[in-house]
């Protein structure tokens, strides 16, 4: 990079431990009751969403779904550090970030229910929708970051991929471009240790996933991905540099996938239950609750009320989702191009008319 050597730090940043105890430097936000409870609420809402989504899928009312159980702190912490005018380019597991950025639970249900209208979310209009081909959103993120740079800077793009995603050429080409073009791009690897059935040890021999930043000459950080305070702080730090100095960064957030890969996966085929059990005490929600309680910011009633509110909000969203009218089949033609090419008019008409025949 023009200005300076990359600033890499491979120590795992932590703020609070599994019991809410302070284990590292506390970011400013940690003393802001409002802010911390907001993070907590966001994680709880995410988990409620996840639970409902799985329930809907099990009863045939949602498609294949990728739960974020145990990883909520990555999604929520990163999104909390973002500004409204930043742009998020998520993988398929960052429901928490999408919700916090302003996509509604109804819209997300709609998408996972197999309706493209769910991606036309009213919230962050510049945010990208869920990306299914692993890491293929990272090149887009580099492009979005370039647009921000050309528009005069002050904003950043945030892309999230998984530990598996860090094996793809796209990942590497995107961060390399960000490095050499000095793009305001923060790439977050949500390292949940598994890519479907492939554990990290069979994914790469790299020292840590953050080391991959060295291939692109960009800043690198590692953070405990179950510690939302630390995630938020690290993301904020990187985002600030990206916005101010067009400095790209790679963040490895180390967490753990407590659930199956998706609703069509059965993790017991390849993963020891004992390993999962071992990771439960690390999970981010109980951890932050312990911190809240230790600060005397959170009483039993608060918890009861929040769980009820979250469940209700999600239940209501689910009802709304289930009551939505279907799109007309012709919608598949109507958003293909800005205006339907005359050559496709006959096909559209055939579909509309339900006449079989050609095409």
């Amino acid at each position: 990079m023009a200005d300076a050597a990359p600033d890499v730090d491979f120590t795992l940043r932590r703020a609070i431990g599994p019991d809410g105890e302070v284990v590292g430097p506390l970011p400013d936000v940690a003393s802001d009751r409002e802010a911390v409870t907001a993070l907590y609420r966001a994680m709880v809402l995410t988990r409620s969403f996840d639970e409902k989504a799985i329930a809907l899928q099990r009863t045939g009312r949602l498609g294949t779904y990728a739960s974020s159980l145990g990883q909520e702190a990555v999604s929520v912490g990163v999104a909390a550090a973002m500004a409204a005018e930043d742009v998020l380019l998520p993988s398929f597991r960052e429901h928490g970030a999408q919700l916090q950025r302003g996509a509604t639970p109804v819209e997300l249900f709609q998408f996972w229910g197999g309706d493209e209208r769910g991606n036309d979310f009213k919230g962050p209009r510049g945010d990208f929708p869920v990306c299914i081909p692993v890491s293929s959103q990272l090149p887009h993120a580099a492009g979005v970051a370039l647009a921000m740079r050309l528009d005069g800077g002050g904003r950043a793009a945030v892309a999230v991929c998984g530990d598996g995603g860090a094996s793809k050429g796209d990942f590497y080409e995107a961060i390399n471009l960000a490095g050499v073009w000095e793009l305001p791009l923060v790439t977050v690897i949500c390292n949940n240790r598994w890519a479907i059935s492939t554990p990290l040890a069979r994914q790469t021999a790299a020292g840590t996933l953050a080391h991959k930043a060295l291939a692109a000459g960009i800043d690198a950080r590692r953070v405990d991905g179950n510690d939302v305070l630390a995630v938020r702080a690290v993301a904020a730090e990187c985002l600030e540099r990206a916005r101010a100095d067009s400095r790209p960064a790679l963040i490895e957030a180390v967490t753990y996938r407590l659930g199956d890969h998706t609703t069509v996966d059965d993790a017991t085929r390849y993963r020891d239950e004992a390993e999962v059990k071992e990771h439960w005490p690390q999970e981010p929600i109980a951890r932050l609750r312990a911190y809240l309680v230790a600060q005397d910011w959170w009483a039993k009633e608060d918890e009861t009320r929040l769980l009820k509110e979250s469940a209700e909000e999600i239940a209501a969203a689910s009802e709304t989702y289930l009551a939505l009218d279907p799109e007309p089949p012709t919608a598949m033609f109507d958003h293909l191009y800005e205006t339907l090419p005359p050559a496709l008019a006959a096909q559209r008409a055939a579909l509309a008319g339900g006449t079989g025949g050609d095409g």
């Binding site: 498609g63 299914i132 598996g164 069979r202 293909l336 079989g356």
Partner: protein
């Protein structure tokens, strides 16, 4: 004789090929402990060990590319790509290398590899999981492209693909993976990789299809038969190289052809069959050649998927349309 589903037939053929030739090596994402996301490789890790059943990092380019190297160096890699949408990344390796290595070196290095992937819709899968892009491979000289339409075809064609001395793209209709069982003899008998199969004879109209669409096409033929229209049904099976013999023979008899493909209409593989008929069999034709295909749209998410997929009703309508001409 065991009754197998299509995906079990795939697994059975893989096991057989690995047992009879130790140079057969499997690689792909989640093919080992998980047995593949569709269980096509289930049990093979236990039987053949981790050196021969290899979980790859999440990188389709290197899965295809390493297979090229492995094949050139004397092995018989069978690589799995999880869904067809992720095969696009492999095109560089398949088109620029796998298909060309023999030709480029005038036979010194060869590429006996198989690239397997499930393809097609109808199972309410997420985006990129339901595509039918066989035409991209079928346009590529030096490749073979095979698509089974039933458990026994899957068994026989896959064995043929693995034993073939050249690269084969093997596309499995995931909609049929568990749709039904049929008796499949694990006798190691391969099917020919350069022939269409006549599934049903009929003198009125020739229905041509491949893969999952054969099920719809056979259903359409039944419906037509109920109305006294005798439809021949031809399973293309090997799209590349395309052998027109059976199709031409049937069309010479019927004078009518309906081609059924799940892929979007324009520039799909059905166009090639129609073009061949319009050249070589023009004067046999009594009726316009109809194609029943996916629309020229992006494969929709599950909610609209059923409106995208060609179905027996559309095939019947096209056949009836053809029957109007005598």
């Amino acid at each position: 004789m065991a009754e197998l589903t299509l995906v079990e037939a795939v697994q059975c053929a893989l096991a057989r090929a690995m047992a009879e030739d130790e140079r057969v090596v499997l690689l792909g994402e989640d093919v080992a402990d998980d047995g593949g996301v569709f269980r096509a490789t289930d049990g093979l890790l236990a039987r053949f060990g981790r050196e021969r059943v290899r979980d790859a990092p999440l990188s389709e380019v290197v899965i295809a590319g390493a297979s090229v190297g492995l094949a050139a160096a004397g092995f018989r890699p069978v690589a799995e790509i999880q869904f067809m949408g992720f095969m696009l990344s492999t095109l560089d390796q398949m088109v620029n290398h796998a298909s060309r290595l023999r030709n480029r070196t005038r036979g010194r290095l060869t590429c006996p590899m198989v690239l397997r992937a499930p393809y097609g819709g109808g199972v309410h899968a997420p985006e990129h999981h339901s595509e039918s892009m066989e035409a991209l491979f079928a346009h590529t000289p030096g490749l073979r492209v095979a698509i089974p339409s039933s458990p026994s075809k899957a068994y026989g064609l896959l064995l043929a693909a693995i034993r073939d001395p050249d690269p084969v793209v093997f596309l499995e209709p995931k909609r049929l993976y568990r749709a039904y069982r049929e008796p499949v003899e694990d006798d190691g008998a391969a099917l020919p990789l350069d022939r269409c199969f006549v599934l049903r004879e009929g003198g009125d109209v020739t229905l041509v299809s491949w893969g999952a669409m054969l099920k719809e096409t056979l259903a359409a033929a039944e419906a037509l038969a109920a109305d006294g229209i005798e439809a021949a049904v031809i399973d293309v099976a090997t799209l590349k190289p395309l052998d027109m013999t059976e199709i031409a023979r049937s069309v010479a008899q019927t004078g009518r052809c309906v081609i059924v493909q799940e892929a979007p209409l324009t520039a799909g593989f059905g166009a090639e069959i129609a073009a061949r008929l319009a050249d070589e069999n023009l004067f046999d034709l009594l009726a316009p050649i109809k194609r029943v295909a996916g629309w020229d749209t992006v494969m929709p998410l599950p909610r609209l998927e059923a409106h995208y997929m060609p179905d027996p009703a559309r095939i019947v309508a096209a056949a009836r349309e053809a029957m109007r001409h005598r």
